[in-house]
């Protein structure tokens, strides 16, 4: 449906996007996830046709589109700041693309009305944009981008400005509409939760380059590199050395502790004995017990340094003597314990081999 091949873009001296390749099959939902300045908007604008790529080519339906101006591409876009027309009513905003694209005037009212039904905005047709709430404006923007049945919809962080509750509602809402209409979608965000919740596939970007392209669970469980591991989830990074390896079984030495571990990418050759590596350990994959030793592949004792109560979870920072000065972050959301450990409390921490992910340096 959409294929991006070796696309790059530089503005004068700065390179915004480097050698990006991916494709989105019809009806699928891809999210581009990356920190601020990683080139997400630039990439999206190249697909929309506002910016010309410096290298590479973009194909829609198998045809190269470099020479096609934005108004001739059948792409609906929801912008970072929505970009609704303030001088028109909600109805006229949604009817705009139909009029501009020369739809039969007789069928325009039906199409627009149907769209207001889909985004659940019936009764708000004659409102001015300023007379709508943030969430309602969002729905108008989505309706406007979808009403002309585009081949592809691009979302440039349109939900970022909403408060958390509304944002999570709109994420599910958009996913529902997207699946109902079966429209191919590329979404951009720097909110990892949004990426995991909404997408069929997640493409993680950093510094203008693709870091990983995989289904959400895959990017979470098997981060391709240290960047992806830090960017998605709360992750501890522990410098280590390879202690031993027998076949695929790997043991590493972290500080005074030796632990079984797993190589991030099993395709890669196992680093040699003694090689310096980085180990990623997600905060929610660390067991925390007060008193009894943790029932895990590797465990050690430590002391709570800080305790942050976040309601649905508790975040601890734990000093583990055997691991050196760095604090280990632990997320505890076990329901049965109802534990709230005060700073200074002695604890046992532990983890399983499959959760200690080794990245060669």
């Amino acid at each position: 449906m959409v294929a991006v091949e070796g696309v790059g873009k530089s503005f004068g001296g700065t390179t915004a996007v480097t050698d990006v390749t991916f494709s989105v099959p019809r009806g699928r939902f891809l999210t581009i996830l990356g920190p601020s300045g990683s080139g997400k908007t630039t990439l999206l604008r190249m697909i929309a046709g506002f910016i010309e790529p410096s290298q590479g080519e973009i194909y829609i339906h198998g045809k190269p589109v470099s020479a096609v101006p934005p108004h001739r591409r059948a792409i609906g876009m929801v912008f970072q700041r929505l970009a609704l027309f303030p001088h028109l009513t909600a109805w006229d905003n949604v009817a705009y693309p139909l009029r501009m694209r020369g739809f039969d005037a007789a069928e325009i009212p039906d199409r627009v009305a149907a769209m207001f039904g889909i985004v659940q905005l019936k009764g708000f047709e004659q409102r001015r944009i300023q007379q709508l709430s943030g969430g309602q404006q969002q729905r108008v923007a989505i309706a406007r981008a979808l009403v002309f049945e585009p081949d592809l919809v691009l979302l440039d962080e349109p939900l970022a400005a909403l408060d958390r509750k509304l944002r999570e509602e709109m994420q599910l809402e958009f996913r529902r509409i997207q699946q109902e209409l079966g429209v191919t979608t590329i979404n951009v965000t720097h909110d990892q939760r949004e990426a995991l919740v909404m997408s069929d596939e997640v493409m993680v970007m950093d510094g203008g380059r693709v870091q990983q392209l995989a289904p959400p669970a895959e990017t979470y469980r098997n981060p391709a590199n240290a960047f992806v591991a830090t960017f998605i989830g709360v992750t501890n990074f522990l410098p280590a050395h390879v202690a031993s390896r027998t076949g695929s079984a790997l043991r590493v030495r972290i500080g005074d502790l030796e632990s079984p571990a797993r190589l991030a990418d099993p395709q890669l050759p196992t680093p040699p004995h003694g090689a310096a590596v980085d180990c990623a350990l997600r905060a929610e994959h660390v067991w925390l017990r007060s008193g009894a030793p943790a029932d895990a592949d590797c465990s050690s004792s430590g002391r709570v340094m800080q305790c942050i109560f976040e309601g649905d979870r508790i975040v601890y920072e734990v000093a583990v003597a055997a691991l050196g000065p760095a604090l280990i972050r632990v997320i505890d959301r076990t329901p049965e314990a109802h534990l709230l450990l005060a700073p200074g409390a002695p604890v046992e921490v532990g983890w399983n081999a499959r959760d200690l992910i080794v990245f060669p340096r």
Binding site: A48, F50, H71, F79, A83, F85, H87, P97, M100, R101
Partner: protein
Amino acid sequence: MGASVMLEALEGIRATLWPRAFKRFTGAMLLLPAVALVLVLVAGLAWMGDASLHLLDTETFETGADYTAANYRQMGGQATYWIVLGRSILGAAIVTLVTLVLAFPYAYVMVRTGSAWTRKILLVSLFLPFFIGQVVRAYGWLIILGKEGLLNSLFGILGLGPFKMIYNYPSVLFGLVQYLLPFAVLLIAPAVTAIDEEIELASESLGAHWLRTFRHVTLPMAKPGLVAAALVVFTLALTDYAMPVILGGGTNDFIANAVYDAFFRISDSGLGSAVAIVLVLIATLLAAVILTVLGSGTLGFSAERR
């Protein structure tokens, strides 16, 4: 320490002069200077209105005591006044149109350009004319466009001309456009700045090429700025004095020139006042027309549907 004592003393003085109870009048107080200024204008206008209703005795050069519409009748009876009036209104309309057409792209490029240098150059060329008075600028055009002027000597070298480029209607209008362009740009630029560039991109991605984007999005959204610019340019052009005198050389008088002539050439303050009053009435009326035509309704689609 010293400062706080002083502030307290000041606060004490304020409290005696303007007790808390007066607080709700503070807004009205702040309006006073502006109101006073307007009142002075209205008083002057009232005086002129009164003067326009007395006839000048040509024997004694004293104004009569009786109220009469004779000045207005005399004006209406003289073809010259009708010609001057028509010339002024037509001229102001043409100048407004041309100025807006030139000012919009200027303001647009100035706001949207990605190059800091382009913006700087456009801004400086915009403000430079403000430092040079209108009269000096008009003389500048005389030097360039006159019979012995710069352009004609250049044409002379090429064996052309001399061409008569001043003391005609187009030269007056040209001078007015050049004089009023910066005002229009300054009034339009904020309106363009207020349009988020993403909105224009959105219009394009929704299927409108740049011309339709301009017609359906940029233009209607910039309308407040355009209306303000049209009002200012139109009234300034309609009531201008210097350009018709200098670039028209007395051959293409506007109403303000007629007022001047009545007051200071033939010393008939009654007739001068009458002409001035007519000018004020016409300017007000036309401004109201501009406001109602451009100021209400949108250029959007709402009327088209049903």
